[in-house]
């Protein structure tokens, strides 16, 4: 169990005070894959660095399994850090060391007996699928392979918590998915808690079970990933989801605002299905029951960790009263409906 209580971080800069993290409360359960999403500068890195004391909160406490990380110093903090792994966007491997030597490093630091070091490192290299590359130097590896070394290295001292700061942001989509799969794999095999920082909703959807959305140092929305996808509350969350369910969201947004101006009489609605409902013939039922026209603008289905999520943009025209009834009927079928009045990009 990890708890953040009213965390604030204020930096003194030349241009005055800068509040990077502004009163964050979070609790993360053991075994969670917890995502923290936000745009650049939201304070995600600052926040995640508090979990292993690389950054001290200006006020508030970080508690991991009952011990206050934010109050630890010196030796006590260093020995705690050995049980918290961390991986980075730019991998941060030592180029002067081979793959094997990089994985040995945390074991050397922890003072693991020499004999055990080597077999432990070999085992981890196997776990991340880099067998045979032990003697390669980082400069000879691809980005995905480098991140695998980063993961092996982070797991060396059998941590209970793994922190990932934009761990896939420097990777192509294919490699990103491979690394994400590996993270899920170790989450299950090793039963460790993973905290993932990202600015891609895709990463959250694929592997997280819970998510917190950060904006200007604050957590503006938090909950189970499926719930957030079904019922996003904040505009920023909706934007993240829109960008994920439809990578060309710029285009959709343009198309939507055009339709909005072209057909002021109709209504544009965004339907979100999940799980079983994705199989329901929602639209055809509506057409049969109500004298309305439906015009499907864009649709997609996406796989989340625990469920699948469908997204549909529909233009609905007809009598205003009938439209309202139809929308109510869709809602009754347990499908999320959002009436789009204006498109905020």
């Amino acid at each position: 169990m990890i708890e953040l209580a009213n965390i604030k971080k204020i930096y003194e800069t030349k241009r005055g005070k800068l509040t990077a993290v502004d009163g964050v409360d979070l609790s993360i359960n053991d075994g969670d894959i917890f995502g923290i999403i936000g745009y650049s500068g939201a304070g995600k890195s600052t926040l995640v660095r508090m979990f292993n004391g690389l950054e001290k909160p200006t006020s508030g406490d970080v508690t991991i399994n009952g011990s206050k990380i934010s109050a630890l110093k010196g030796k006590a903090l260093r020995s705690k850090r050995q049980k918290i792994g961390m991986i980075f966007q730019h991998f941060n491997l030592l180029w002067s060391r081979t793959v094997l030597e990089n994985v040995l490093l945390p074991l050397e630091i922890a003072g693991v007996p020499k004999k055990e070091q080597k077999s432990k490192a070999q085992e981890l290299i196997r776990l991340v699928g880099l067998e045979g590359r032990e003697e390669a130097y980082p400069s000879q590896l691809s980005g995905g392979q480098k991140q695998r070394v980063g993961i092996a290295r982070a797991l060396a001292n059998e941590p209970t918590l793994l922190l990932c700061d934009e761990a896939t942001s420097a990777l192509d989509p294919q490699t990103t998915d491979e690394v994400l799969d590996l993270l899920v794999d170790i989450n299950q095999k090793l039963k460790l808690t993973i905290i993932i920082i990202t600015h891609e909703m895709h990463v959250i959807r694929k592997i997280c079970n819970r998510v917190a959305v950060m904006e200007s140092g604050k957590v503006v929305e938090e909950g189970h990933v499926i719930d957030i996808f079904k019922k996003p509350q904040q505009e920023i969350t909706k934007r993240f989801i829109r960008q994920d369910t439809n990578p060309d969201s710029e285009d959709t947004d343009v198309a939507l605002s055009q339709l909005l101006t072209e057909y002021p009489e109709g209504k544009l609605i965004h339907l979100t299905f999940h799980g079983e409902q994705t199989n329901q013939p929602v639209l055809s039922r509506i057409i049969r029951q109500y004298p309305v026209e439906l015009n499907v603008i864009q649709g997609s289905i996406q796989q989340a960790k625990e469920d699948s999520i469908g997204s549909l943009y529909v233009q609905i025209t007809g009598d205003n009263d009938v439209i309202e009834q139809a929308i109510q009927q869709i809602k009754n079928m347990d499908v999320e409906v959002e009436v789009i009045n204006d498109v905020t990009v």
């Binding site: 292993n52 690389l54 030796k75 903090l77 260093r78 020995s79 705690k80 850090r81 050995q82 918290i84 961390m86 980075f88 730019h90 941060n92 491997l93 030592l94 180029w95 002067s96 060391r97 490093l105 945390p106 050397e108 630091i109 922890a110 130097y137 980082p138 400069s139 290295r153 060396a156 001292n157």
Partner: protein, 235 residues
């Protein structure tokens, strides 16, 4: 006119190639003295430079008042000693050397000045080398629970090894040049040979031979240095 020029050229050339004039035993002694001064000072410069470079790097990264003051003081000292022309420094340090070594003759007497002039220079190169290391790498190792010494010996030094090696190569070569100037305090070496035997006794061949030997030493150092740099650089 043309003829005159040719005769002149031939006479100059004959002076430079009058190898009979060279006392090769003395030349070998001088070579050994030069090597002694270079190697002796380089060992201490290397250790001192690393230490001072490390102090500069560490104190510039910390925000405490003590660290700030240390950085300023060390930084000023380094800049001062680096800026004093060697030929002046060596004279300036005569009393210190006398006190320290109890002697002012022989190649040993040049060591303090050689070290004082080169260690600050090398320290700056080392500091720059440390600075070039990705901060993220240092942080990654700190996140594993490493202490200061582990960071120094497992990250800072290994990751800046190419800079450290290239830096000591440059420093050594400039030290060879400095040893030649050590002649002014009678420290011996090839510079002494070139000046006293070659110039003052008017034997240009001796000067030429001393020059060639110095060049060979410099090229050897550069060659070995480059090889080491290439060997340790896995980037």
């Amino acid at each position: 006119m043309m003829l005159q020029f040719n005769v002149l050229a031939a006479s100059i050339l004959s002076q430079y190639t009058d190898f009979e004039e060279i006392d090769w035993n003395k030349m070998w002694e001088a070579t050994k003295e030069t090597l002694f001064m270079t190697v002796g000072s380089v060992i201490i410069v290397f250790i001192l430079g690393l230490a001072i470079g490390l102090i500069l790097y560490e104190t510039s990264n910390q925000h405490s008042l003590a660290a700030n003051i240390t950085y300023r003081v060390v930084s000023i000292l380094v800049n001062v000693f680096r800026s004093i022309p060697f030929i002046i420094l060596i004279v300036l340090l005569i009393p210190v050397t006398k006190q320290l070594l109890d002697t002012m003759v022989g190649p040993k007497a040049a060591l303090p000045a050689l070290i004082v002039s080169s260690a600050p220079f090398y320290a700056r190169l080392v500091e720059t080398g440390f600075r070039e290391i990705d901060k993220g790498v240092v942080e990654a190792v700190e996140s594993m629970g490493a202490n200061k010494w582990q960071v120094i010996f497992k990250v800072l030094i290994p990751e800046s090894l190419p800079s450290i090696a290239a830096g000591i190569t440059t420093t050594t070569i400039s030290l060879v040049g400095f040893t030649a100037m050590a002649a002014v305090i009678g420290a011996g070496g090839l510079g002494n040979m070139a000046y006293l035997d070659g110039f003052q006794r008017n034997k240009p061949a001796v000067t030429l031979a001393a020059t060639v030997i110095i060049l060979i030493i410099v090229f050897l150092i550069q060659g070995i240095g480059d090889r080491i740099v290439r060997r340790v650089d896995k980037r």
